[in-house]
Protein backbone atom coordinates (compact mmCIF):
# COMPACT_ATOMS: atom_id res chain seq x y z
CA UNK A 1 0.00 0.00 0.00
CA UNK A 2 1.20 3.51 -0.84
CA UNK A 3 2.15 5.90 1.96
CA UNK A 4 -0.19 8.54 0.56
CA UNK A 5 -3.92 7.89 0.83
CA UNK A 6 -6.78 9.97 -0.53
CA UNK A 7 -10.19 9.15 0.92
CA UNK A 8 -12.82 10.27 -1.58
CA UNK A 9 -14.31 9.81 -5.02
CA UNK A 10 -13.29 11.28 -8.39
CA UNK A 11 -16.74 12.88 -8.81
CA UNK A 12 -15.89 15.23 -5.93
CA UNK A 13 -14.29 18.48 -7.15
CA UNK A 14 -12.29 18.73 -3.94
CA UNK A 15 -10.92 15.19 -4.28
CA UNK A 16 -10.14 15.90 -7.94
CA UNK A 17 -8.15 18.97 -6.89
CA UNK A 18 -5.93 16.82 -4.68
CA UNK A 19 -5.53 14.00 -7.24
CA UNK A 20 -4.55 16.50 -9.96
CA UNK A 21 -1.89 17.87 -7.63
CA UNK A 22 -0.52 14.41 -6.79
CA UNK A 23 -0.39 13.64 -10.53
CA UNK A 24 1.52 16.87 -11.24
CA UNK A 25 4.08 15.73 -8.68
CA UNK A 26 4.23 12.18 -10.06
CA UNK A 27 3.30 10.76 -6.66
CA UNK A 28 1.79 7.32 -6.06
CA UNK A 29 -1.26 7.15 -3.84
CA UNK A 30 -4.16 4.89 -2.88
CA UNK A 31 -7.64 6.22 -3.63
CA UNK A 32 -9.85 4.83 -0.88
CA UNK A 33 -13.51 5.16 -1.87
CA UNK A 34 -16.01 6.78 0.49
CA UNK A 35 -19.63 5.67 0.13
CA UNK A 36 -21.23 9.10 0.14
CA UNK A 37 -24.59 7.68 -0.90
CA UNK A 38 -24.89 5.91 2.43
CA UNK A 39 -23.48 8.88 4.38
CA UNK A 40 -20.15 7.27 5.21
CA UNK A 41 -18.55 10.74 5.16
CA UNK A 42 -20.84 11.96 7.95
CA UNK A 43 -19.93 9.19 10.41
CA UNK A 44 -16.96 7.71 12.16
CA UNK A 45 -14.32 6.69 11.34
CA UNK A 46 -14.30 9.20 8.46
CA UNK A 47 -15.13 12.13 10.77
CA UNK A 48 -11.91 11.53 12.72
CA UNK A 49 -10.02 12.27 9.50
CA UNK A 50 -12.23 15.12 8.28
CA UNK A 51 -14.36 16.56 11.10
CA UNK A 52 -16.65 18.63 8.84
CA UNK A 53 -17.71 15.44 7.09
CA UNK A 54 -16.37 16.39 3.67
CA UNK A 55 -14.21 14.59 1.15
CA UNK A 56 -11.36 14.32 0.65
CA UNK A 57 -9.45 13.24 3.71
CA UNK A 58 -5.73 12.74 3.17
CA UNK A 59 -3.00 10.76 4.84
CA UNK A 60 0.75 10.93 4.26
CA UNK A 61 2.29 8.53 6.75
CA UNK A 62 1.18 9.79 10.17
CA UNK A 63 0.06 13.18 8.89
CA UNK A 64 -3.71 13.42 8.49
CA UNK A 65 -5.20 16.41 6.69
CA UNK A 66 -8.43 17.73 5.24
CA UNK A 67 -9.49 20.80 3.16
CA UNK A 68 -8.34 20.25 -0.43
CA UNK A 69 -6.44 23.54 -0.75
CA UNK A 70 -4.48 22.89 2.46
CA UNK A 71 -3.67 19.42 1.12
CA UNK A 72 -2.46 20.74 -2.26
CA UNK A 73 -0.35 23.42 -0.54
CA UNK A 74 1.16 20.74 1.71
CA UNK A 75 1.94 18.47 -1.26
CA UNK A 76 3.43 21.36 -3.26
CA UNK A 77 5.67 22.36 -0.36
CA UNK A 78 6.68 18.95 0.96
CA UNK A 79 7.39 17.55 -2.52
CA UNK A 80 8.74 20.83 -3.89
CA UNK A 81 11.59 19.15 -5.75
CA UNK A 82 9.41 16.54 -7.49
CA UNK A 83 7.46 16.96 -10.70
CA UNK A 84 5.93 20.34 -11.57
CA UNK A 85 6.85 23.23 -9.27
CA UNK A 86 3.41 24.44 -8.23
CA UNK A 87 4.43 27.38 -6.03
CA UNK A 88 6.90 30.26 -6.30
CA UNK A 89 9.01 32.31 -3.89
CA UNK A 90 9.36 35.90 -2.68
CA UNK A 91 7.20 38.51 -4.40
CA UNK A 92 6.15 36.03 -7.10
CA UNK A 93 4.67 33.80 -4.41
CA UNK A 94 2.68 36.77 -3.08
CA UNK A 95 0.99 37.04 -6.50
CA UNK A 96 0.34 33.27 -6.64
CA UNK A 97 -1.24 33.58 -3.17
CA UNK A 98 -3.49 36.40 -4.37
CA UNK A 99 -4.85 34.33 -7.24
CA UNK A 100 -5.28 31.24 -5.05
CA UNK A 101 -7.47 33.39 -2.79
CA UNK A 102 -9.31 34.71 -5.86
CA UNK A 103 -10.12 31.13 -6.86
CA UNK A 104 -11.31 30.33 -3.33
CA UNK A 105 -13.40 33.45 -2.67
CA UNK A 106 -14.39 35.02 -6.03
CA UNK A 107 -14.57 32.10 -8.46
CA UNK A 108 -15.32 28.89 -6.54
CA UNK A 109 -18.52 29.92 -4.67
CA UNK A 110 -20.11 30.89 -7.99
CA UNK A 111 -18.62 28.08 -10.10
CA UNK A 112 -19.60 25.41 -7.55
CA UNK A 113 -23.23 26.61 -7.48
CA UNK A 114 -23.34 26.40 -11.28
CA UNK A 115 -21.55 23.04 -11.45
CA UNK A 116 -23.96 21.66 -8.86
CA UNK A 117 -27.03 22.87 -10.79
CA UNK A 118 -25.89 22.10 -14.34
CA UNK A 119 -23.65 19.04 -14.01
CA UNK A 120 -24.28 17.25 -10.71
CA UNK A 121 -28.02 17.66 -10.09
CA UNK A 122 -28.87 16.11 -13.50
CA UNK A 123 -26.45 13.29 -12.69
CA UNK A 124 -28.42 12.58 -9.50
CA UNK A 125 -31.80 13.06 -11.21
CA UNK A 126 -32.56 16.27 -9.28
CA UNK A 127 -34.48 19.32 -10.55
CA UNK A 128 -32.35 22.24 -11.80
CA UNK A 129 -33.13 25.69 -10.32
CA UNK A 130 -33.15 28.06 -13.30
CA UNK A 131 -33.11 31.19 -11.12
CA UNK A 132 -29.94 30.06 -9.38
CA UNK A 133 -28.39 29.24 -12.76
CA UNK A 134 -29.22 32.66 -14.22
CA UNK A 135 -27.94 34.54 -11.16
CA UNK A 136 -24.66 32.64 -11.05
CA UNK A 137 -24.04 32.73 -14.80
CA UNK A 138 -24.17 36.52 -14.55
CA UNK A 139 -21.78 36.55 -11.58
CA UNK A 140 -19.38 34.14 -13.27
CA UNK A 141 -19.37 36.33 -16.39
CA UNK A 142 -18.13 39.28 -14.30
CA UNK A 143 -15.41 37.17 -12.68
CA UNK A 144 -14.32 35.89 -16.10
CA UNK A 145 -14.07 39.47 -17.39
CA UNK A 146 -11.45 40.09 -14.71
CA UNK A 147 -9.72 36.82 -15.61
CA UNK A 148 -9.70 37.90 -19.28
CA UNK A 149 -7.90 41.13 -18.34
CA UNK A 150 -5.47 39.27 -16.08
CA UNK A 151 -4.66 36.63 -18.69
CA UNK A 152 -4.04 39.37 -21.24
CA UNK A 153 -0.98 40.42 -19.21
CA UNK A 154 0.02 37.10 -17.62
CA UNK A 155 0.29 33.66 -19.21
CA UNK A 156 -1.15 31.96 -16.14
CA UNK A 157 -3.09 33.46 -13.24
CA UNK A 158 -0.20 33.51 -10.79
CA UNK A 159 2.46 34.56 -13.29
CA UNK A 160 4.40 33.09 -16.20
CA UNK A 161 4.17 29.48 -15.10
CA UNK A 162 1.38 27.04 -14.13
CA UNK A 163 0.85 26.96 -10.37
CA UNK A 164 -1.73 25.88 -7.80
CA UNK A 165 -3.55 29.16 -8.60
CA UNK A 166 -4.51 27.61 -11.98
CA UNK A 167 -4.77 23.98 -10.83
CA UNK A 168 -7.40 24.70 -8.18
CA UNK A 169 -9.85 25.71 -10.96
CA UNK A 170 -9.60 22.47 -12.96
CA UNK A 171 -12.34 20.35 -11.36
CA UNK A 172 -15.14 22.94 -11.55
CA UNK A 173 -14.01 24.12 -15.01
CA UNK A 174 -14.18 20.55 -16.22
CA UNK A 175 -17.83 20.29 -15.15
CA UNK A 176 -18.81 23.73 -16.46
CA UNK A 177 -17.30 23.23 -19.92
CA UNK A 178 -19.61 20.24 -20.44
CA UNK A 179 -22.73 22.31 -19.74
CA UNK A 180 -24.51 25.40 -21.10
CA UNK A 181 -22.13 27.47 -18.95
CA UNK A 182 -19.47 26.99 -21.61
CA UNK A 183 -21.12 29.87 -23.47
CA UNK A 184 -19.59 32.17 -20.84
CA UNK A 185 -16.10 31.18 -21.93
CA UNK A 186 -16.48 31.37 -25.71
CA UNK A 187 -16.49 35.20 -25.99
CA UNK A 188 -13.40 35.47 -23.75
CA UNK A 189 -10.44 34.31 -25.88
CA UNK A 190 -7.66 34.57 -23.28
CA UNK A 191 -9.71 32.66 -20.73
CA UNK A 192 -10.64 30.05 -23.37
CA UNK A 193 -7.00 29.59 -24.35
CA UNK A 194 -5.98 29.26 -20.69
CA UNK A 195 -8.70 26.66 -20.07
CA UNK A 196 -7.62 24.66 -23.15
CA UNK A 197 -3.98 24.85 -22.03
CA UNK A 198 -4.53 23.65 -18.47
CA UNK A 199 -6.98 20.94 -19.62
CA UNK A 200 -4.27 19.55 -21.92
CA UNK A 201 -1.83 18.89 -19.07
CA UNK A 202 -0.97 15.16 -18.77
CA UNK A 203 -1.62 15.21 -15.00
CA UNK A 204 -5.19 16.39 -15.61
CA UNK A 205 -5.78 13.95 -18.44
CA UNK A 206 -4.60 11.15 -16.15
CA UNK A 207 -7.21 12.23 -13.59
CA UNK A 208 -9.95 12.27 -16.25
CA UNK A 209 -9.09 8.69 -17.22
CA UNK A 210 -9.46 7.73 -13.56
CA UNK A 211 -12.84 9.49 -13.37
CA UNK A 212 -14.03 7.64 -16.50
CA UNK A 213 -13.20 4.30 -14.91
CA UNK A 214 -14.90 4.94 -11.56
Amino acid sequence: MAVIKVHGIPLSTAAARVIACLNEKGLEFDLIPVDMGSGEHKKEPFLSLSPFGQVPAFEDGDLKLFESRAITKYIAQEYGDKGTPLLASGKEMAIVSVWMEVEAHQYDPVAMKLAWELALKPHFGMQVDDAVVAENEEKLGKVLDIYEARLSVSKYLGGDVFTLADLHHLPTLSYLMNTQAKKLFEPRPKVSAWVADIFSRPAWRKFLELREQK
Binding site: P51, F52, E67, A70, Y74, S97
Partner: protein, 229 residues
Protein backbone atom coordinates in the same frame (compact mmCIF):
# COMPACT_ATOMS: atom_id res chain seq x y z
CA UNK B 1 10.56 47.86 3.55
CA UNK B 2 12.21 49.53 0.56
CA UNK B 3 14.56 52.41 1.18
CA UNK B 4 14.78 55.41 -1.06
CA UNK B 5 17.00 58.48 -0.99
CA UNK B 6 15.40 61.91 -0.98
CA UNK B 7 17.54 65.01 -0.74
CA UNK B 8 20.32 63.08 0.97
CA UNK B 9 18.02 61.56 3.60
CA UNK B 10 17.43 57.83 3.64
CA UNK B 11 13.71 57.21 4.07
CA UNK B 12 12.05 53.89 4.75
CA UNK B 13 9.11 53.36 2.46
CA UNK B 14 6.24 52.39 4.73
CA UNK B 15 3.72 49.75 3.69
CA UNK B 16 0.46 51.29 2.52
CA UNK B 17 -2.78 49.52 3.38
CA UNK B 18 -5.79 50.80 1.46
CA UNK B 19 -8.97 50.14 3.45
CA UNK B 20 -11.06 51.25 6.40
CA UNK B 21 -10.61 50.75 10.15
CA UNK B 22 -14.02 49.09 10.63
CA UNK B 23 -13.86 46.78 7.60
CA UNK B 24 -13.55 43.09 8.55
CA UNK B 25 -11.14 42.31 5.76
CA UNK B 26 -8.99 45.39 6.39
CA UNK B 27 -8.82 44.64 10.12
CA UNK B 28 -7.83 41.04 9.37
CA UNK B 29 -4.67 42.51 7.82
CA UNK B 30 -4.19 45.22 10.47
CA UNK B 31 -4.24 42.67 13.31
CA UNK B 32 -1.55 40.71 11.46
CA UNK B 33 0.59 43.84 10.92
CA UNK B 34 0.38 44.68 14.64
CA UNK B 35 1.18 41.08 15.67
CA UNK B 36 4.32 41.28 13.51
CA UNK B 37 5.21 44.81 14.71
CA UNK B 38 5.26 46.13 11.14
CA UNK B 39 4.70 49.84 10.51
CA UNK B 40 2.10 50.78 7.95
CA UNK B 41 0.01 53.67 6.74
CA UNK B 42 -3.77 53.16 6.51
CA UNK B 43 -5.00 54.95 3.39
CA UNK B 44 -8.79 55.39 3.63
CA UNK B 45 -10.98 54.32 0.70
CA UNK B 46 -14.32 56.09 0.30
CA UNK B 47 -16.79 53.25 -0.18
CA UNK B 48 -19.79 55.59 -0.06
CA UNK B 49 -18.73 57.41 -3.22
CA UNK B 50 -17.76 54.14 -4.89
CA UNK B 51 -14.04 54.92 -4.94
CA UNK B 52 -13.34 51.18 -4.78
CA UNK B 53 -15.29 50.49 -7.98
CA UNK B 54 -13.37 52.92 -10.20
CA UNK B 55 -9.83 53.56 -11.38
CA UNK B 56 -7.29 54.10 -9.93
CA UNK B 57 -8.44 51.71 -7.17
CA UNK B 58 -9.56 49.11 -9.73
CA UNK B 59 -6.01 49.07 -11.10
CA UNK B 60 -4.88 47.90 -7.67
CA UNK B 61 -7.70 45.37 -7.13
CA UNK B 62 -9.77 44.52 -10.20
CA UNK B 63 -12.44 42.96 -7.94
CA UNK B 64 -13.07 46.41 -6.42
CA UNK B 65 -12.70 45.36 -2.79
CA UNK B 66 -10.69 46.53 0.20
CA UNK B 67 -8.04 45.98 1.42
CA UNK B 68 -5.09 46.37 -0.91
CA UNK B 69 -1.48 46.33 0.28
CA UNK B 70 1.29 48.24 -1.48
CA UNK B 71 4.86 47.28 -0.58
CA UNK B 72 7.11 49.26 -2.88
CA UNK B 73 6.34 48.02 -6.39
CA UNK B 74 4.31 45.03 -5.14
CA UNK B 75 0.53 45.49 -5.00
CA UNK B 76 -1.54 42.64 -3.57
CA UNK B 77 -5.18 42.09 -2.59
CA UNK B 78 -7.34 39.40 -0.86
CA UNK B 79 -6.85 39.82 2.91
CA UNK B 80 -5.70 36.21 3.48
CA UNK B 81 -3.04 36.49 0.75
CA UNK B 82 -1.86 39.73 2.38
CA UNK B 83 -1.64 38.18 5.86
CA UNK B 84 0.25 35.21 4.40
CA UNK B 85 2.69 37.57 2.67
CA UNK B 86 3.30 39.62 5.83
CA UNK B 87 3.69 36.50 7.99
CA UNK B 88 6.34 35.10 5.63
CA UNK B 89 8.20 38.31 4.83
CA UNK B 90 8.49 39.33 8.49
CA UNK B 91 8.90 35.80 9.84
CA UNK B 92 11.85 36.84 11.99
CA UNK B 93 9.99 39.52 13.96
CA UNK B 94 6.91 39.67 16.17
CA UNK B 95 4.56 36.72 16.72
CA UNK B 96 5.29 33.59 14.67
CA UNK B 97 1.96 33.20 12.85
CA UNK B 98 2.77 30.40 10.38
CA UNK B 99 5.48 28.21 12.05
CA UNK B 100 7.60 27.56 8.96
CA UNK B 101 10.12 25.65 11.07
CA UNK B 102 7.81 22.70 11.70
CA UNK B 103 6.19 20.82 8.81
CA UNK B 104 3.38 19.52 10.97
CA UNK B 105 2.63 22.86 12.62
CA UNK B 106 2.69 24.95 9.43
CA UNK B 107 0.50 22.35 7.72
CA UNK B 108 -2.06 22.51 10.56
CA UNK B 109 -2.08 26.31 10.18
CA UNK B 110 -2.93 25.79 6.50
CA UNK B 111 -5.72 23.31 7.32
CA UNK B 112 -7.43 25.51 9.91
CA UNK B 113 -6.95 28.64 7.76
CA UNK B 114 -8.85 26.81 5.01
CA UNK B 115 -11.50 25.90 7.59
CA UNK B 116 -11.96 29.58 8.38
CA UNK B 117 -12.24 30.39 4.65
CA UNK B 118 -14.59 27.59 3.64
CA UNK B 119 -16.55 26.48 6.73
CA UNK B 120 -16.73 29.54 9.01
CA UNK B 121 -16.63 32.58 6.72
CA UNK B 122 -19.51 31.60 4.39
CA UNK B 123 -21.92 31.14 7.31
CA UNK B 124 -20.92 34.03 9.55
CA UNK B 125 -20.61 36.73 6.91
CA UNK B 126 -24.31 36.69 5.88
CA UNK B 127 -25.26 37.13 9.57
CA UNK B 128 -22.92 40.12 9.95
CA UNK B 129 -24.18 41.54 6.65
CA UNK B 130 -27.85 41.23 7.65
CA UNK B 131 -27.34 42.73 11.10
CA UNK B 132 -24.88 45.53 10.36
CA UNK B 133 -25.03 46.37 6.65
CA UNK B 134 -28.71 46.08 5.70
CA UNK B 135 -29.77 48.73 8.27
CA UNK B 136 -27.26 51.15 6.72
CA UNK B 137 -29.26 50.78 3.52
CA UNK B 138 -32.54 51.35 5.36
CA UNK B 139 -33.53 47.67 5.37
CA UNK B 140 -34.34 45.27 8.21
CA UNK B 141 -32.28 42.12 8.69
CA UNK B 142 -33.77 39.12 6.86
CA UNK B 143 -34.40 36.78 9.78
CA UNK B 144 -34.71 33.73 7.52
CA UNK B 145 -31.17 34.26 6.24
CA UNK B 146 -29.92 34.84 9.78
CA UNK B 147 -31.64 31.70 11.11
CA UNK B 148 -30.41 29.50 8.27
CA UNK B 149 -26.84 30.59 8.83
CA UNK B 150 -27.02 30.46 12.62
CA UNK B 151 -27.97 26.79 12.31
CA UNK B 152 -24.94 26.15 10.10
CA UNK B 153 -22.72 28.21 12.41
CA UNK B 154 -23.78 26.08 15.40
CA UNK B 155 -22.69 22.96 13.55
CA UNK B 156 -19.35 24.51 12.58
CA UNK B 157 -18.70 25.70 16.14
CA UNK B 158 -19.54 22.22 17.50
CA UNK B 159 -16.55 20.97 15.51
CA UNK B 160 -14.45 23.85 16.91
CA UNK B 161 -15.60 22.94 20.43
CA UNK B 162 -14.29 19.42 19.97
CA UNK B 163 -11.05 20.62 18.38
CA UNK B 164 -10.39 23.17 21.14
CA UNK B 165 -10.86 20.38 23.67
CA UNK B 166 -7.69 18.84 22.23
CA UNK B 167 -5.57 21.91 21.39
CA UNK B 168 -5.36 25.37 22.96
CA UNK B 169 -5.72 27.11 19.59
CA UNK B 170 -7.03 25.86 16.27
CA UNK B 171 -3.78 24.78 14.59
CA UNK B 172 -2.18 23.49 17.80
CA UNK B 173 -1.05 24.83 21.15
CA UNK B 174 0.05 28.10 19.54
CA UNK B 175 -1.78 31.20 18.28
CA UNK B 176 -1.55 31.40 14.49
CA UNK B 177 -3.04 32.96 11.36
CA UNK B 178 -5.75 30.30 11.56
CA UNK B 179 -7.10 31.91 14.77
CA UNK B 180 -6.36 35.47 13.63
CA UNK B 181 -8.43 35.22 10.46
CA UNK B 182 -11.56 34.63 12.55
CA UNK B 183 -11.22 37.68 14.71
CA UNK B 184 -12.94 40.48 12.79
CA UNK B 185 -16.19 38.62 12.12
CA UNK B 186 -16.21 37.07 15.60
CA UNK B 187 -15.80 40.52 17.16
CA UNK B 188 -18.84 41.82 15.29
CA UNK B 189 -20.80 38.62 15.88
CA UNK B 190 -20.41 39.03 19.64
CA UNK B 191 -22.23 42.38 19.30
CA UNK B 192 -25.29 40.74 17.72
CA UNK B 193 -28.27 39.28 19.64
CA UNK B 194 -26.96 35.79 18.82
CA UNK B 195 -23.65 35.83 20.70
CA UNK B 196 -24.95 33.00 22.87
CA UNK B 197 -23.97 30.66 20.03
CA UNK B 198 -20.37 31.30 21.13
CA UNK B 199 -21.06 31.64 24.87
CA UNK B 200 -22.84 28.27 24.99
CA UNK B 201 -19.71 26.51 23.84
CA UNK B 202 -17.25 26.67 26.74
CA UNK B 203 -14.03 25.97 24.82
CA UNK B 204 -14.97 28.27 21.93
CA UNK B 205 -15.88 30.99 24.43
CA UNK B 206 -12.56 30.61 26.30
CA UNK B 207 -10.66 30.65 23.00
CA UNK B 208 -12.42 33.84 21.92
CA UNK B 209 -11.74 35.52 25.28
CA UNK B 210 -8.08 34.57 25.04
CA UNK B 211 -7.43 35.70 21.48
CA UNK B 212 -9.46 38.90 21.81
CA UNK B 213 -7.36 39.91 24.81
CA UNK B 214 -4.20 40.08 22.67
CA UNK B 215 -2.67 43.57 22.46
CA UNK B 216 -2.56 43.61 18.66
CA UNK B 217 -6.27 42.89 18.49
CA UNK B 218 -7.19 45.46 21.14
CA UNK B 219 -5.41 48.20 19.19
CA UNK B 220 -7.38 47.36 16.04
CA UNK B 221 -10.71 46.81 17.84
CA UNK B 222 -10.68 50.48 18.97
CA UNK B 223 -11.39 51.45 15.35
CA UNK B 224 -14.03 48.78 14.72
CA UNK B 225 -17.13 50.90 15.24
CA UNK B 226 -19.52 49.51 12.66
CA UNK B 227 -23.03 50.85 13.01
CA UNK B 228 -22.10 52.77 16.14
CA UNK B 229 -21.82 56.57 16.15
Amino acid sequence: MAEETLAGQVLKQVLKLHGLPMSSCTTRVMICLHEKGVEFELVPVDLFTGQHKQPPFLDKNPFGQIPVLEDGDLTIFESRAITQYISEKYKDQGTDLVHPGSLEQCTMVKVWSEVESHQFNPVISPIIYQFFVEPLQGKSPDQAIVDENLEKLRMVLDVYEERLGKTKYLAGDFFSLADLHHMPFLFYFMKTPWSSVVDERAKVKAWWEDISSRDAFKKVAEGMKFGEN
